[in-house]
Symmetry: C2
Subunit: 386 residues, 2 copies
C-alpha cells in the first residue's frame, strides 16, 4: 500500500475520466485508496469527447480480434468472462442499470464470400471452445424477421454480450463518486512519479500540481499528448476516428431487432446494436483522422448499409450522429503496466475494446497498486514492448 | 384605422410568430398600430417548431409553381419582385443581415427525360418574360465544378434569389421588437372578432383573453386547430412534413457550390442551397404526415441524392437534420383575406413559399388593416374560395 502522508493530495491520481479511468478509480477507491480523477471534462456527462460515449458497447471477444492476434483474443476472453460479475457489482454499487444484454450476436452474410468467411469464423470459435451456431437464411430471418430477404445465412454467437456504453459510464461515475473518488476538472500536461502537473484553463484558482503515491494514465488517445509518458508509448498510440449513429424506435413501433447484428455490407463492416430502451446503435467508421467532425459521407454510408441489412431501419427516428477518437496502437493491443519504478502506471490504447476490457483493466491496475502482478493475460501488453 | 380604446390590449393581435406572423406584425407596427404577437413558442429562437426555421429560403417563383397554377405563379412573381426592397428595409431596421443571395439557380439534369423537362421549363420561363439560359454539361460544370460528371446539362435562372431563413426570421423578430411589437407566449385556442382566447400552460398568471380591434391568424399549419377560423379554411389546411439537412464546410475547405442547385435525382426533387457562411442546406422530403420526427430513411435519401449530384458533399460536416410541418392547402395556394366583417383576417397556408411570400403577405395585411384592398395578385387566394 502506498504511504498516506499529509504532503500528498491522494494515494492515486487517475488521469482520464472515460470508462477505463473511471473503472480504475472506482476499484482503487474500493480497495481503500484515496483517489482523484483528473480530466479536462471532469465527470460532466455533457462533455462527450470520450471514446466511451461514442461506442456501441459490444462485448464480442472473437469478432474484435483478428485471426492471429492470439494474445489479444486471450485477453478478450478473459475480459468477457469477468465482465458480468463486475457489471453486477457495479449496478449494485451505483444503484442503476447498465443495460447489459445477453441475447448474443448474429453475424449475417449476403454472398458466398461472406458465407465462407463466416464458416471460417465458426470453425475458429469452435476450435477455442466457444459456441457458434451456423444458421441458414430461413433461420436467420425466423430469429430476426426484419433482416433483409437478401440475407444468405449467418452464425449465431450466443456468448457475446452488449452493454449500453453511456449507462455503463454513468454507472461507473456514480459508483466512483459513492466510493469517495474526487474529480478535478483539468488537463494533465505532465506526469511524473508522484505528481501530475495541470495545464491552464480549467483550474483557475486551483492547484497547479497534484501529488500522490501513484499516478495512473488512462487518457485514451490523449495519452500521447502527456509529457512524462514514455516516448515509445506516446509514439505507439494514435487516434482512430469512429462515427456512429443512434436511431430510435418511434413511440409504439415494435423493436425491429432483438440482438446485435454484424454484417459485411458492400465491403463495409457494420454492426447494429439494439438497446432495451428502443435505441439502435449503428456503427462504425474507422478513419485515420484526429478530428471529431460528423461527416455527410459517413452518415450516408452507415444509413445505406443499415437499411440494406435491415430495411425497416428506415422507419426509425434519426436521433444522433457522433464521432469519437479511439485510442489505437501500433499493434492493436492495449498498453497496461508500470513504467519506471512502478509508481507511474499506463492503462491506455484500448482501441475498439475499451468497454469490454474496462473490468479487467481495473482489476489489473488494482493488483499493481497493491504490489501484485496483473492477470497473466496482460503480460504481452506491457508498455515496455514498444 | 381601428379605434384605439383603453378597453383593448392592442390594435392588432397576430396569432403566430413564424415569418408570416412576424412580418405582418412588423409592418403593422410600422404603420402605427399597437401590435401583440401570440405564439406558444414566443419569440424564442430555440423553439424550432416553425416551418420558417426548417426552410431553405429559396425564392424561385417558377420552380415552386407547377405548370397550370397561373394564379400562384403571378403571386410568386409579385413576391420575388417585392422581396429585395422589403429585405433591404428589414436589414436596415433590424441592424442585421439576412444572407440574401442573388447568384441565381442552376437546375441540372441527369438524363434525356430530365433534359426535356428542363427545356419545357426554359420555354415557359421565356414565355412569361423571365430569363433562363440553357447550358450544356460542360458549361454547367464550368460554373459549378463540383457537380457530378454525370450531369447532362442544365438551365440557369439568373433571377432566382435565396435568403438564410433563420437569419431572416431573426431579423424580422429584431425589427418587430424595435418597432414596439410585444410577444405573448401562449397558444391561441379560439379567435373571434376583436378577441383571442388563450389556452392553458404558457400563460400562468397571465390573461385568459386578449382583445384588439383586429385579429390576424398567421399560425401556419396550426391554423386548422384554432376555433373561430372558418371550418372550410380549417379543413383546407393540412401539415406537409418536410425534412432537410444542414451541412457545413469544414474549416479551410473552399465552398463547393456558389449558387442554388436543383436536380431530379432518381425521381426525387432535390435542392442544395449554399449560404455565405459555409452552410449548405439540402432538402427536402414531402410527406403527408403530421409528426416532426427526423427519420433514418429521409436522412439517407437526402444524403444519397446530394452526394449523387455533388459527390464532394460527402466531405461536408453533417451539422443538423430537422423536420418541420409546412402549411399545405387543398389547392396549393395560400389563404389571405378577411372573414366575416373584416376584423378577423387569415394569412396562412403558404405551404413551401412562406419565406418568398412573407413580404407581400405583410403588405397585403397592412393594406387590409388600413381599409384598403390587397394587391390584385392576392385576389384568387381569399378564404372564401373554399
Amino acid at each position: 500500500m502506498p504511504a498516506k502522508g499529509a504532503s500528498v493530495d491522494a494515494d492515486v491520481i487517475v488521469v482520464g475520466a472515460g470508462v477505463i479511468g473511471t473503472a480504475i478509480a472506482w476499484r482503487a477507491a474500493l480497495a481503500g485508496h484515496a483517489v482523484i480523477i483528473v480530466d479536462p471534462g471532469g465527470d460532466d456527462p455533457r462533455t462527450d469527447d470520450k471514446a466511451s460515449l461514442v461506442a456501441a458497447g459490444m462485448l464480442g471477444p472473437v469478432s474484435e480480434s483478428v485471426f492471429g492476434e492470439q494474445d489479444l483474443l486471450n485477453l478478450n476472453l478473459h475480459a468477457v468472462d469477468r465482465f458480468p460479475s463486475f457489471n453486477a457489482e457495479l449496478e449494485r454499487a451505483a444503484g442503476r442499470e447498465t443495460g447489459l444484454r445477453t441475447e448474443g450476436t448474429l453475424a449475417v452474410a449476403y454472398d458466398n464470400g461472406d458465407l465462407a468467411a463466416l464458416d471460417r469464423l465458426t470453425e475458429f470459435r469452435h476450435s477455442i471452445g466457444l459456441v457458434a451456431e451456423r444458421l441458414d437464411a430461413r433461420e436467420c430471418r425466423r430469429r430476426e424477421p426484419f433482416l433483409a430477404p437478401s440475407t444468405r445465412g449467418g452464425v449465431f454467437a450466443a456468448g457475446d454480450l452488449s452493454v449500453d456504453n453511456r449507462r455503463y459510464l454513468a454507472a461507473l461515475r456514480a459508483a466512483a463518486a459513492k466510493a469517495g473518488v474526487r474529480t478535478v476538472r483539468a488537463a494533465a500536461a505532465h506526469v511524473a512519479v508522484g505528481r501530475v502537473a495541470l495545464s491552464g484553463g480549467g483550474v483557475l484558482g486551483g492547484p497547479r500540481e497534484l501529488t500522490a503515491a501513484h499516478v495512473v494514465v488512462a487518457a485514451g488517445h490523449a495519452t500521447r499528448d502527456i509529457d512524462g509518458v514514455p516516448e515509445a508509448v506516446r509514439a505507439a498510440i494514435r487516434p482512430v476516428k469512429g462515427q456512429i449513429l443512434r436511431l430510435r424506435h418511434p413511440t409504439g413501433m415494435p423493436h425491429i431487432l432483438t440482438r446485435t447484428i454484424r454484417a459485411i455490407v458492400q465491403g463495409h463492416d457494420l454492426y447494429l446494436v439494439p438497446r432495451k430502451d428502443g435505441e439502435l446503435v449503428v456503427g462504425a467508421t474507422q478513419e485515420e483522422r484526429a478530428d471529431r467532425d460528423v461527416t455527410a459521407g459517413a452518415v450516408h454510408d452507415l444509413l445505406r448499409d443499415a437499411t440494406t441489412a435491415v430495411p425497416a431501419a428506415s422507419e426509425l427516428v434519426f436521433a444522433e450522429a457522433v464521432a469519437g477518437l479511439r485510442p489505437g496502437t501500433s499493434d492493436n493491443g492495449p498498453v497496461l503496466g508500470p513504467v519506471g519504478d512502478g509508481r507511474l502506471i499506463i492503462a491506455a490504447g484500448h482501441y475498439r475494446n475499451g468497454i469490454m476490457l474496462s473490468a479487467v483493466t481495473a482489476d489489473a491496475v488494482a493488483a499493481l497498486l497493491d504490489g501484485k502482478d496483473a492477470h497473466a493475460a496482460w503480460a504481452p501488453f506491457r508498455p515496455g514492448r514498444f
